[in-house]
């Protein structure tokens, strides 16, 4: 939430100025803190860009509060773990990679990155993970009852969760999506998910029938969210739409953690209604696609894009790539969702997916953000650039770090970005 409230501060800034000097494991687990957060987050002083942002904010405040206060078993997940599995099993999903994004947007990442460094983690590893490791080492994150990792998009979660499961002495379920295609792959992942769901349900004290009911409900809600989300994306593809990718990228956490909840469905419904209502900007902006994620701290990259009459019309990580699921077959459905992700397997799948998106959204140029240490993504950036260029779509590859602001050479980036945006204009 970026909009200004009390004395011109954002909500995060207001919380920082009240609590940062007292930040401690005890504070994070105190009722007083969460009562204040709830009051502040509901305050009309803090306006949100879209009405839907209020819904996701409240959902995150509730889930994070419950996680810190231990109201339900907490399960740490990486991005490709479907949250429907965790909600449906009666536990609370916590996506620590997203927590790193919040920490970075609050300008606090360097402290935790340094802490991870002191513990022996090389600065060559992905800073999403170094940041969450540092915060975990300071015991500032909600304590987990279990970990689930999927072996895609990257190796980082499988490896850092292994360390953390040792630190917290709780189980780590390492879900593997095999490379083999077709039924067998889905069967394998479904069986693994079923095994994990039973373990989670027993943590939450759910019986077999309750588990099935919980999963069916979570999948129904997820399907509802998907319906609105897909419609929203249709609008973005077909029209000049007010919704800007620079904001949509922030919804990666909604897409990760809120699928399978009422708030997830309400979020996309409300967003769709408001976007439809507000109509088009009608400015004929250059249509840009963003690959990988954005830097979460303050910078001028997006202002520069806007100033050059361009707009991010689609983003890699917030695209609803999966189909509606069958609540009668939760494990097969969720396995299809995870195994069908375009970041699973060879880069060819990712490239084909991104190229199809580029055509569907009629993009005129694309930006690939090379997040330092993200081998899976940076490793394919040059191939993506070449393949897009063969199709006549120029790609700008930017080097930086989504979490560690000390690693962003902003001056250099802006010069290259401006030249790129100019060249797009000249192509008219």
């Amino acid at each position: 939430m970026r909009d200004e409230g009390e004395n011109g501060k954002t909500l995060l800034e207001a919380l920082k100025s009240r609590f940062l000097h007292r930040l401690s494991p005890q504070l994070m687990r105190s009722r007083m803190l969460w009562e204040t957060v709830e009051i502040l987050s509901r305050s009309p002083l803090y306006k949100t860009r879209w009405k839907a942002d209020r819904i996701s904010l409240n959902a995150f405040v509730r889930m994070t509060r419950d996680a810190y206060l231990g109201r339900r078993p907490v399960v740490w997940c990486n991005l490709l773990v479907p949250s429907e599995l965790v909600h449906g099993s009666g536990c609370l999903p916590f996506y620590p990679e997203m927590a790193s994004a919040v920490i970075a947007s609050a300008g606090l990442a360097s402290r935790f990155l340094d802490r991870a460094g002191e513990a022996g983690f090389s600065p060559d590893a992905c800073s999403y993970h170094r940041c969450l490791l540092g915060a975990a080492l300071e015991d500032l994150l909600p304590r987990p009852h279990a970990f689930i990792s999927v072996n895609y998009p990257c190796d980082s979660a499988v490896l850092s969760f292994r360390y953390l499961s040792h630190l917290y002495r709780v189980p780590h379920f390492a879900l593997e999506v095999p490379l083999i295609r077709g039924e067998k792959r889905v069967e394998f992942v479904a069986a693994e998910m079923e095994r994990v769901a039973h373990s989670l349900a027993s943590l939450a004290g759910r019986e077999g029938r309750e588990l099935r009911k919980g999963l069916a409900e979570a999948i129904e809600l997820s399907n509802q969210a998907l319906k609105y989300h897909a419609e929203l994306e249709r609008l973005r593809r077909e029209t000049d739409c007010l919704l800007d990718g620079k904001d949509v990228m922030g919804y990666v956490s909604v897409l990760a953690a809120c699928m399978g909840t009422r708030e997830g469905a309400r979020f996309y419904q409300t967003l769709l209604e408001e976007v439809t209502e507000r109509g088009r900007p009608g400015e004929g902006a250059k249509r840009i696609m963003w690959m990988h994620l954005k830097p979460w701290y303050k910078h001028s990259i997006f202002d520069t894009i806007t100033a050059h009459g361009a707009r991010i019309v689609c983003e890699e990580y917030t695209h609803p790539y999966w189909k509606a699921m069958d609540p009668r077959h939760p494990f097969v459905s969720l396995a299809q969702k995870t195994a069908g992700h375009f970041l699973v397997g060879e880069a060819e799948r990712r490239i084909a997916h991104l190229q199809a998106m580029a055509v569907a959204y009629r993009v005129q140029g694309a930006i690939h953000f090379n997040h330092w240490g993200c081998r899976q993504s940076c490793g394919a950036a040059q191939t993506i650039r070449m393949r897009f260029q063969q199709r006549g779509i120029p790609v700008l590859v930017i080097e930086g770090d989504c979490v560690d602001e000390r690693e962003l050479q902003e001056g250099q980036i802006l010069t290259r970005l401006e030249a790129f945006l100019e060249s797009l204009r000249e192509r008219e």
Binding site: G120, H166, P178, A347, W372, A381, Q382
Partner: protein, 344 residues
């Protein structure tokens, strides 16, 4: 004799990169094979395709691939890490006319995972049969596993007499289908009062850090790296009545693991036992930069080793190791501390 050889055709050579590649199947298909070492000096040539934050082994291998003449790019990759998967992507993009294959590798050894690897191995055999118009028979796989076991025995016989540098060279040679092993050179043999250490890591340039630390006085009694002892620690020899693919998959998933696999506790326990048996005074953790499995393993391993009273030194290599002189002082200080500890 393989069908390829019977037809009098030149035997194609397949390059591979990860120790989990089932070379038995390549041999059973009648193919020559070798483990890529890469050209560390030319790693920058890979910049146009691979990001500099990918491990230097992977980048050096692509640099080597770019130098190979056309028709020499058949390659089998294992989905062991993000970097290797991206190397596969770049290789298949660059050399589409070659046999470029990515095989999966589960991390654990549960029955389901054995099943997956068994299927993957069968599929590799089928793809080789298709591409090279040959047949991979079960007998040939079993036969190849026996040849590999012979090479393993050679390594185990020689290794205790070899310096670390020689071990890496011998290990690499014995991992290919046509091993050429030079007799160990006298001047490289370990001699004099040396400090016995275990070396743990991923891939070593034999002429880099390893040479420097031996010169500094280390005697490498355990060389737990991909191009050292690790590939030879466990047998994967098959019996005549085995279902070869299943037996091979089981052996590969149960052998002594690298940091990438699950069962980390087992790996550590085993390492500590070997350390004690070999009377290693300490452990040097030497890894290539940008390698996530080892980056994330170290803090945990260091902690466990500390609890066991084992001292560790961590060194990082860029695979070229041109500035290796800078680490010598640290190694000397570490060895000095270890020898003081053993005297005291």
């Amino acid at each position: 004799m393989s069908e390829l050889r019977e037809r009098g055709e030149a035997t194609p050579e397949v390059t591979w990169f990860c120790g989990y590649t089932p070379v038995e199947i390549l041999e059973a298909a009648g193919l020559d094979h070798r483990r890529a070492t890469g050209v560390a000096e030319d790693a920058e040539d890979a910049d146009a395709y691979l990001h500099p934050s990918l491990c230097p082994y992977v980048r050096s291998c692509l640099a080597e691939g770019l130098r190979l003449p056309p028709g020499h790019h058949h390659a089998v990759f294992v989905n062991a890490c993000d970097a290797l998967r991206r190397l596969y992507d770049a290789w298949s993009y660059l050399f589409p006319e070659s046999f470029v294959y990515l095989m999966d590798l589960p991390r654990g050894s549960s029955p389901r995972e054995v099943e997956i690897l068994t299927d993957e191995m069968k599929r590799l055999a089928e793809k080789l049969e298709e591409r090279f118009a040959t047949q991979v028979t079960q007998e040939a796989v079993i036969e190849a596993s026996r040849r590999r076991e012979e090479r393993r025995q050679i390594y185990l016989r020689h290794a205790p007499k070899l310096s670390g540098v020689e071990k890496v060279k011998t290990s690499l040679a014995l991992q290919s289908s046509q091993p050429e092993i030079d007799p160990p050179k006298d001047e490289e043999r370990t001699s004099g009062a040396r400090v016995p250490v275990a070396l743990v890591g991923n891939i070593l340039n034999p002429n880099g850090i390893l040479r420097a630390l031996e010169q500094a006085g280390a005697q490498v009694v355990i060389l737990d790296v991909c191009n050292g002892d690790r590939p030879f620690l466990a047998s994967a020899a098959l019996e005549a009545d085995d279902d070869p693919y299943r037996a091979l998959a089981t052996a590969y998933l149960r052998r002594h693991h690298c940091a990438r696999m699950q069962g980390w506790q087992g790996r550590t326990k085993d390492l500590i036992e070997r350390l004690r048996k070999a009377r290693a005074a300490g452990l040097i953790y030497v890894t290539l930069k940008f390698c996530d499995p080892y980056i994330y393993e170290f803090p945990l391993l260091e902690k466990v080793l500390e609890e066991e009273g084992v001292k560790t030194l961590r060194l990082e290599s860029d695979y070229l190791d041109a500035h290796v002189g800078q680490v010598v002082t640290r190694v000397e200080a570490f060895l000095e501390m270890l020898s003081r500890g053993s005297r005291g």
